[in-house]
């Protein structure tokens, strides 16, 4: 049990950038080093983790933990994954409040803020690959931009509409390319 916690703590600690960066690290520990799962099993777990809402690393860790040690394993793995970032952010948050008065820190963050906009837009390009070029997809993209970007509605509406459209409208569309 302690070993399991330790491994997921390490995974949580050393994977910068979150989510997808953690997957190869989890795979190495679970499949290759400790042989707790076969490669195929791991891929199934990963596919399911991606279909659920919430942070990918949390989903994957919970699945793997349950596979190995039922509910207790799930709790241990989930906690292990989240603990490092929780502690690190706590430390940063407690220091940053004081640092915000420092003029150099202010300038540094003034440089970082516009970079974040560029960074987010790069994710759009990465995601593009997983989407088929159809009128249906274009309608979904525009729907999301119109509702959230322009009307400032809750993204929850967009998620619900998109999920239902995928199940009930997509199979009947003939606009696929």
């Amino acid at each position: 049990m302690m070993k399991l916690f330790g491994i997921f703590f390490k995974i949580g600690l050393f994977t910068l950038g979150g989510g997808y960066a953690m997957v190869p690290v989890i795979e190495e520990e679970i499949v290759e080093k400790n042989k707790w799962m076969s490669e195929d099993e791991f891929l199934d777990v990963l596919a399911m983790a991606q279909s659920l809402p919430g942070p990918l690393a949390v989903n994957t860790a919970t699945f793997v933990g349950y596979r190995l040690k039922k509910s207790r394993g799930a709790v241990i793995c989930c906690l292990g994954t989240v603990m490092p970032s929780f502690l690190i952010i706590l430390i940063i948050a407690s220091f940053l409040t004081g640092l915000y008065q420092n003029p150099l820190v202010i300038k540094f963050f003034m440089g970082i803020r516009p970079a974040v906009a560029g960074l987010i837009l790069t994710a759009v390009f990465k995601l593009k690959k997983g989407i088929d070029a159809s009128l249906f997809s274009i309608v979904m993209v525009l729907m999301a931009i119109a509702c959230v970007g322009i009307m400032a509605w809750s993204p929850i509406i967009v998620i619900l509409v998109a999920a239902f459209s995928g199940i009930y409208i997509y199979p009947h569309t003939k606009w696929r390319v």
Binding site: F14, L16, G19, Y20, D44, M48, P53, P55, L56, A57, V58, T62, F63, Y66, R67, S71, A74, C78, V82, S85, F86, I88, I89, I92, A93, S94, L96, T97, K107, F108, F109, G111, I112, R113, P114, A115, A117, G118, L119, I120, L121, T122, A123, L127, D132, F136, S137, M140, V141, L142, A144, V148, I159, A162, A163, S165, G166, I167, Y170, P171
Partner: protein, 173 residues
Amino acid sequence: MAIIIEIFWTFFKIGAFSFGGGYAMIPFIQREIVSVHQWLPKEEFIDVLAISQVTPGPIATNASTYVGYKIAGLLGAFAGTSGVIGAAFLLALFISGRFEKVKHLPQIKLMFKGLRPAVLGLIFSAGLTVGFATVTSYKELGIACFSFVSIVKFKMHPILTIAISGCMGLILF
């Protein structure tokens, strides 16, 4: 105590409706934290995004810990973090026991035919919102373009891009 419950519930909702990982959560978190609850000013929210990029762990958990701590100290940090992973954890636990049955449901594949492009639209909106909030002169525009091009064209690591952008801030402002 009411604020602790509110923090937990807000992040529980964020966790429960976030598909597509990482960046897809940004519009949710931004709306709830900056617009609805006004727990953080827009600038500080963007700083939290940047911090999340250079520290380990999912963006959503980092943001929830930070915001929770800012509003209600340690207990708030705990409420935010457990909230954001709560839905994911419970759902994963629930499905774990029924894994073989759920694995091949065709509805899940179809659902993602709709979700994926919508998530792309959400992330695009988030990028534009952050852009409009931060770009006030050609200097910021230059930094935003640098960050985009360095990652897409030159495959630079996001941490390096952020570090360089911070240094550009020291020089330019």
